[in-house]
Amino acid sequence: MKILVAEDEPILIRTIEVRLKKDGHELCLATDGQQAMDRMTDFVPDMVITDIMMPYASGLEIISFARQQEKRKIPIIILSSMGQEDVVLEAFKLGADDYITKPFSPNELSVRVRRLLSV
């Protein structure tokens, strides 16, 4: 499956990349919001994983963009920090499917990805 990952923290994006590649997915990485939206149209992902707070465009904008763009509904997971519950709620209203709070376990992320993609 093709997954787009948008995350500005290098250690996080690298770790997610390693894990999801090991799980057999094809990845497209973006380190800021604008990049994520630019690459989304060409890459046509089957799933999007995005952080909420990123330079140039927030995760919420990316979710709106994704929902407007696509022809079919793809699962979206958001990465949030502690204390961002209201932003998470906002994200769900815009169409996110699941969220994971930092710090998190990479294995858990992998499990959630698998679950959402199998649905």
Partner: protein, 367 residues
């Protein structure tokens, strides 16, 4: 840029001295320029080296994060020869510590445990301890931070001694470290701390505590009567966050505390631990309070109040301060049917400024 008046005078010293001074200045200038250029070259070179090192470290870290301990043998995370060789350089070791810290903050579970294992394996904890023992405050603080993030509980005693240190940043790091390592148990330092705890530090501590399991310790009520005002404020925040209704009585007595910020925090706290008596208590304490406190009381009454408070709230509509009028109107709107009725029936409800105030309060509520 300064340009001095050009003036000729016999009282000004000998031109030779001036020329000498000018030569010194020009010399210094040239030295600085040369230094800057060399420094930039060096910095760019360092930058490149850092990037290379970070690549190496990234690989090592990923290996650590996804390492699976083999059965019946102690965990030893494998590293490339290159990495081991680079570890001989102190700069690389510090970079390794920084990257480990960043990674440890990002993950939980097996990944996090492995990172701590690697920290030990490479004996980087010794480096952190060295920093802790240093006399310079920024090294001490850095050492404390490293040991705390990497779960080095064995150094608790040393760190605990620093929770009341003289230097503010060392103190803050030590307090944060103890809470990181021991959760609510670590809050013992609230008994001994003389210096005030800043708002920032309180936010930080609350954040760290929200990540740890456990309950508020027994002596929370003692902190509510601490001589250190900031400790009282912090305790009130803890009580609110953990909904300790049992302490309602003591929190209510804080409404008489000499410090206005303590009283304000007490009002906010009562909002989260309210009982049937709370609104009466707040109404009674209202008149003696500062403006900020009064606003907080009105807001709280809107949140927890009922029909019984409508009369009191209506009385506040006549107060000269408009922000109080608005707060009272908002509170009345929030209490529902009877509140709205009170507003409508209020004698000056159709005159400026009350008409606009009430209109805004109503609109806000529906949006």
């Amino acid at each position: 840029m300064l340009q001095l008046p050009l003036h000729v005078s016999t009282l000004v010293p000998n031109p030779h001295y001036l020329l000498l001074a000018m030569a010194v200045v020009v010399g210094t200038l040239s030295l600085i320029i040369a230094f800057m250029l060399i420094y930039l070259l060096w910095k760019n070179q360092q930058g490149r080296k850092q990037k290379e090192w970070q690549q190496q470290l990234a690989v090592a870290l990923q290996r650590a994060i996804y390492f699976e301990t083999p059965e019946n043998s102690p965990p030893v995370i494998p590293l490339t020869f290159r990495t081991i060789r680079l570890l001989k350089k102190p700069a690389f070791r510090q970079l390794m510590i920084d990257e480990l810290l960043q990674a440890k903050k990002a993950f939980t579970g097996t990944a996090a445990d492995n990172l701590v294992t690697l920290f030990h394996q490479l004996r980087l904890d010794e480096l952190s301890l060295q920093k802790l023992r240093s006399r310079k405050w920024h090294l001490k603080a850095r050492g404390i931070q490293e040991l705390a993030v990497m779960h080095q509980q064995q150094h608790t005693k040393r760190i605990y001694r620093l929770t009341n240190a003289h230097h503010e940043l060392v103190r803050m790091e030590a307090q944060s470290a103890i809470v990181q390592l021991h959760g609510f148990e670590g809050l013992r330092f609230l008994d001994i701390v003389d210096h005030p705890i800043s708002e920032w530090q309180q936010i930080k501590l609350l954040r760290l505590l929200s990540r740890t399991p456990g309950a508020l310790p027994e002596n929370t009520d003692r902190w509510l009567s601490s001589p250190n005002d900031s400790v009282v404020i912090f305790a009130l925040k803890l009580v609110a966050e953990h909904q300790q209704q049992l302490l309602h009585g003591q929190v209510a007595t804080c409404l008489d505390h000499p410090h206005p910020l303590v009283r304000l925090q007490a009002v906010r706290c009562l909002k989260d631990i309210y009982t049937d008596d709370t609104s009466a208590v707040l109404e009674k304490a209202y008149d003696a309070q500062t403006l900020a406190c009064k606003l907080a009381i009105l807001e709280t009454l809107g949140h927890i109040g009922s029909e019984n408070n409508c009369i009191f709230l209506s009385q506040q509509l006549v107060h000269p301060d408009n922000s109080l009028k608005l707060a009272a109107a908002r509170a009345l709107v929030k209490t529902g049917g009877k509140g709205l009725q009170c507003l409508q029936e209020y004698p000056q409800a159709y005159m400026y400024p009350l008409n606009e105030i009430i209109q805004q309060a109503k609109t806000e509520h529906t949006v």
